[in-house]
């Protein structure tokens, strides 16, 4: 047992700094060749900020896919650091870094590892079994907020990243990446930038549809709601995902009314049903299980099951309006 533990630990560096991804690890400034990016409609994780990077082996190229993950070359590492701002009204005051998650594309598949930041914020250390961090920050309204932030254990990584038994990244798909980023060289569309820098091939010539941004009011409510559900629910609630057994499928591509929950009865919800009949009861958000579970913070009820201990108050009205307007 002990022997095995040590030999497993040896497979990955004990400290994040050993990978050499950063010019300044504390400030999360990547070194050259490690590409920062962001995605449309990130997953809500208790109001944490996320700093995302991709490191690909030299002279290797990923290939484009609109609705699925880019096909990344072996040796690619996807890097994501979770952090709370000291004061969300003034980000210059800096961040408390919590954990940095890596997904490493190896021969045997995508491998998840997590590094938890030390108190002095000088480096992050490998952690396989998860950890609870009692964190606090000042929110946009100047209120002090607390969260029981859970670093997932390595099995929990799989829970969200599983697709047909294999571990897969979730974010970097064509439709999630098609937005501007402020590079050192200036503002540019991420897909254009990747293509120009020979990081991405097979990019379609024609303009692809950009999905709605859930909190951008220039889009219609139903589109905003579907975008939100896609990025917050569909990693499990899709065919082949870890909630595939529910028959509730929430990805943007899903068209079946009952598949997205309309007049669908719960199967294994238990008290997650909140004494309601349907996942979505059109016109009646207060009688829709979907909204009830999104609003809850009871671990036996709430959805998603992982990644949050707080509810996403800003997103709930979008889902509410969507169901309210629905026929």
């Amino acid at each position: 047992m002990t022997f095995f533990l040590i030999s497993s630990l040896k497979a990955e560096p004990l400290f994040l700094s050993e990978y050499n991804f950063f010019k300044n690890i504390r400030e999360q400034i990547p070194k050259e060749g490690v590409i920062p990016y962001h995605i449309a409609n990130p997953l809500f994780s208790d109001y944490t900020y996320k700093f995302r990077f991709i490191s690909m082996p030299d002279n290797k190229v990923a290939s484009y896919n609109y609705e699925n993950i880019f096909n990344f070359p072996l040796g690619t590492t996807i890097i994501k650091t979770f952090a709370y701002p000291v004061d969300d009204r003034d980000l210059k005051k800096g961040f408390q870094l919590l954990e940095t998650r890596l997904l490493i594309h190896k021969k045997e598949g995508w491998t998840p590892v997590s590094y938890v930041w030390n108190e002095n914020q000088t480096d992050a250390k490998l952690k396989f079994i998860g950890k609870t961090i009692e964190a606090n920050w000042i929110d946009k309204n100047g209120n002090v907020r607390n969260a029981r932030y859970r670093v997932p254990n390595i099995n929990q990584c799989k829970s969200c990243h599983q697709l047909n038994k294999a571990i897969m990244p979730i974010g970097p798909k064509g439709r999630n990446m098609d937005l501007d980023f402020f590079y050192q060289s200036g503002k540019e569309n991420q897909i254009d930038y990747w293509e120009e820098n020979k990081l991405l091939k097979d990019v379609p010539k024609k303009k692809m549809i950009k999905p709605a941004i859930w909190n951008d009011e220039t889009f219609l409510i139903p589109e905003r709601a579907r975008s939100y559900l896609d990025s917050n629910c569909a990693h499990c609630h899709r065919k082949g995902g870890s909630a595939g057994n529910s028959g509730l499928y929430l990805s943007l591509e899903e068209v079946g009314r009952m598949a997205i929950g309309v007049m669908k009865k719960p199967v294994a919800a238990g008290r997650g049903s909140g004494n309601m009949e349907y996942v979505i009861n059109p016109g009646k958000p207060e009688e829709s299980i979907l909204l009830f579970r999104m609003a809850s913070t009871d671990p036996g009820v709430m959805m998603p099951e992982l990644s949050r201990s707080l509810s996403h108050k800003e997103a709930l009205p979008v889902i509410y309006e969507w169901i309210k307007e629905m026929e």
């Binding site: 047992m1 002990t2 095995f4 533990l5 497993s8 396989f128 079994i129 998860g130 609870t132 029981r148 859970r150 254990n153 390595i154 099995n155 929990q156 799989k158 829970s159 599983q162 038994k165 065919k239 870890s242 595939g244 057994n245 529910s246 028959g247 079946g256 009314r257 009952m258 598949a259 007049m263 669908k264 009865k265 719960p266 199967v267 294994a268 919800a269 238990g270 008290r271 997650g272 049903s273 909140g274 004494n275 309601m276 009949e277 349907y278 299980i289 009871d298 671990p299 036996g300 009820v301 099951e305 201990s309």
Partner: protein, 411 residues
């Protein structure tokens, strides 16, 4: 100050002893480090490993998970090694298993905030002498499922105990090749439930003081449906007298108070040699799925249901007038021991196609022969004016082939 120092020394000695003992034995003891130790063992075990839990009460705030094949997790007994989740703060279940060939034995999981043990997508999973329980008795706030393997195959549940689940104590969903043997389910809404599953044996169990003892269900709009080849034999299904406490909206919330065995929309189901007593609504209920389904391939009406050799006694003395309204509407007074709703496809109803959905062999009461009713709900819906229930047992007598024994792939 001095005292504090002494405390630290004592504490260190304890930590040291703990470290030493964990180096020399694989047995995990209760204590503040137990969660990390178990979760570490669950992550770093290799196929074939045994994770041994000592006697004692382990108190956990977060869920556990296992994703390594062929690992055995064993305690010292369901009454000795207790994993208590009374103060659970995260995780939708107590233990989640996502790997194959895992054996769980001789421990208990109590008071999880959601389900007790969930197993997803396993080829081979064994629960042996496991107890799952909500210790506060039947309550709507209890977790939904006790033992909950789903989308799995070669599922063995042997000599387990499930108490207090707000849905089903033992629930096998969307799985195939299943044996539920010698187990006890009590004070759950559903004692034992086999749902959307293929090739199952439910043999030698006791289901008592649930709302419904044993449920064989098939539901629409799920990745796997069309449940078939289910044998329910030699079970004791008695005194199922707990009022339905499922949160509304759940299918199981429709289970009438005091149902012995209920079959909904499955094909090839054999119910034989069970003892079914003291269930207020009825002993055996055969029903169709009544709600809308989007799925065109879903068949809401059961077929090839064969009921024989059962002893039924004192069932149907106080029918649930809300959940079993079609029964209480049709019958005044004592309800027969076996009830079929009589819903058939239209072509069978008008007689173009022969209908033998339910087949009865001999079934007994303690003093004679069991009675039966076909509620003929199809006629009631279509031509209420000619509607009459059918009490004539001999109209349904016959013999079907027995369900073949379940054979696991590795057997």
């Amino acid at each position: 100050m001095k005292k504090k120092f002494l405390n630290i020394i004592i504490l260190n000695i304890f930590v040291f002893i703990g470290l030493i003992s964990s180096l020399f034995s694989n047995t995990i003891q209760p204590g503040p480090r137990a969660y990390d130790e178990i979760q570490k063992a669950l992550i770093f075990s290799k196929p074939g490993d045994l994770i041994q839990l000592s006697e004692g009460i382990f108190e956990f705030e977060d869920g556990l998970s296992l994703d390594i094949d062929n690992v055995t997790v064993a305690g010292e007994g369901e009454d000795k090694t207790i994993l208590s989740f009374k103060n659970q703060k995260s995780g939708a279940e107590g233990l989640l298993v996502t790997s194959s060939g895992v054996v769980l034995k001789d421990f208990a999981i109590e008071d999880t905030i959601g389900d007790a043990i969930v197993v997803k997508g396993a080829n081979g999973i064994s629960f042996i002498r496991i107890r799952v329980e909500w210790t506060g008795g039947p309550k709507e706030s209890n977790g939904a499922y006790g033992l909950y393997p789903v989308q799995s195959s070669d599922v063995l549940i042997d000599s387990c105990i499930a108490i207090g689940a707000s849905d089903a104590g033992i629930y096998v969903g969307q799985s195939e090749r299943i044996k539920v043997l010698n187990s006890l389910a009590k004070y759950n809404v559903a004692g034992i439930e086999i749902e959307n599953s293929y090739f199952a044996e439910v043999i030698g169990n006791t289901a008592e003081h649930n709302t419904g003892g044993i449920l064989i269900f098939d539901l629409p709009d799920l990745p796997q449906q069309g449940g078939h080849d289910i044998l329910v034999a030699n079970n004791l299904v008695i005194n199922n007298d707990t009022k339905n406490f499922a949160p509304e909206g759940n299918i199981v919330g429709n289970t009438p108070n005091g149902t012995g065995i209920m079959i909904m929309a499955n094909q090839f189901v054999e119910i034989r040699d069970n003892v079914i007593k003291n269930n207020a609504t009825t002993g055996i209920l055969i029903a169709s799925y009544q709600d809308e389904a989007e799925d065109k391939n879903y068949d809401p009406i059961g077929n090839h249901i064969y009921i024989h050799g059962n002893t039924l006694n004192n069932n149907g003395f106080d029918v649930d007038k809300v959940r079993a309204k079609p029964i209480s509407d049709a019958i005044n007074g004592k309800i027969p021991e076996i009830v079929w709703d009589g819903v058939v496809p239209f072509i069978e109803w008008i007689g173009i196609s022969p209908s033998s959905r339910v087949t009865l062999g001999s079934n007994f009461t303690e003093s004679g022969k069991a009675d039966f009713v076909n509620l003929k709900l199809m006629t009631k819906f279509l031509v209420p004016i000619i509607h009459k229930i059918d009490n004539n047992y001999s109209n349904y007598m016959g013999e079907l082939e027995s369900i073949k024994p379940v054979v696991f792939l590795q057997d």
